[in-house]
Symmetry: C2
């Protein structure tokens, strides 16, 4: 079906040009924006809840929440203490650049803010759609099995950081962490990987250090804040 | 973008007509075919491995494996003792009816066989694509959180059976089973739900009884086999 291919290319091209506008706007504002990607239930919202609570007032966090339905995740984020906008995609399987543009218009993020974009839980489709984010963060939970990087390679290939989450459950699982890391290296040799538990807090400090480093890199004129 | 909508409808219509052909062919052969749907890592392959081993020689099981990449799952199924065909979708996020047709051509399932179709791990897109299967089975693992039925309602709405898997991990999680069941009822009041652990075998007998019942319903002229 060549006409589908062409139309798909058109849709992606239109998305890409909107993403470029978002990227320019976020850069102009000095905002670190992160596209957070994972399967349903890997712990995206839980990671953000803990991050917002732990960073406390040291960083202004804002969140765009993508889900097929419900306002549940935005409510959780607001309870954790951050501004959140919920976007419901209905049948849609991923966020697109125009949705991020709408979220920016509502949240109006300012210099040194972190804008988290929690994508629809899906390890496949969001890989194709650039939103204009600064960095892509994939979350894989250890309950999903160590083979996901090679079975869903595209999303790992395009990521800047991988959080392996729910490591508090490792004693109860047959999960071969070293094999998982080997698979990650096969798919994306330069992918930085951190092992964390958003439940117990283990490993989260390294994630916060990564956030601060990325934030500092965006605003070289500002002094790097200590956490 | 109305032209996208129309083209999407065309793609779905073409898929639906191929699915109708598959359904007729599988019915003619007296084959129970099950479209198995879940997030990545919910335990689809593990459920099938255990099912094949436990049913042993009493039922001929065959499997079509859908993944973006690798032959991993087909190898696991073959080691468990069943015939398997691996279909790699590349960038694709779901199986389509023509892929099932190819699988049928290779496996040539016969009367009283069960043909499992393990879809790409994705709780969103496969909901839209009828393959021509007899029944749709969704697997949700308790590690994913109890809110998935309302956050990804479409796939639960169209399912015939829900397996809530990994219940052996319940003691280590904050998972409210009753709330999950309430959410399931909200989305699909008639959805039959079984709680299982493919790891320990807990609850799996009810799943096997369901399989035998569905199989018997397809072949009324055959005596119902005792397990």
């Amino acid at each position: 079906m060549p006409e589908v291919h062409t139309l798909e290319q058109q849709v992606l091209a239109k998305n890409d040009s909107l993403a470029a506008l978002n990227r320019r706007e976020l850069s102009r504002r000095g905002v670190l924006s992160l596209n957070i990607l994972s399967s349903p239930g890997a712990g995206k919202t839980r990671v953000l809840e803990r991050t917002i609570a732990d960073l406390d007032q040291s960083v202004v966090c804002q969140v765009i929440e993508g889900d097929q339905a419900t306002e549940q995740d935005a409510l959780r984020i607001r309870r954790a203490g951050a501004q959140a906008v919920q976007i419901n995609t209905g049948n849609g399987c991923h966020l697109e650049a125009d949705m991020l543009a709408s979220g920016i218009k509502i949240l109006q993020p300012r210099e040194s803010n972190i804008l988290f974009i929690e994508n629809v839980g899906n390890l496949v489709c969001p890989a194709l759609f650039d939103l204009g984010e600064t960095r892509r963060v994939v979350i894989l939970s250890v309950t999903e099995g160590e083979d996901k990087p090679i079975k869903y390679p595209y999303i790992f290939h395009n990521a800047d950081l991988l959080l392996i989450n729910k490591i508090d459950l490792l004693p109860h699982l047959e999960f071969d962490l070293q094999r998982c890391l080997d698979y990650v290296t096969t798919v994306n040799p330069s992918l930085m990987t951190l092992c964390v538990s958003a439940q117990t807090g283990e490993g989260m400090d390294e994630w916060y250090q990564w956030l601060q480093k990325e934030r500092a890199a965006l605003t070289p004129s500002e002094p790097c804040e200590e956490m």
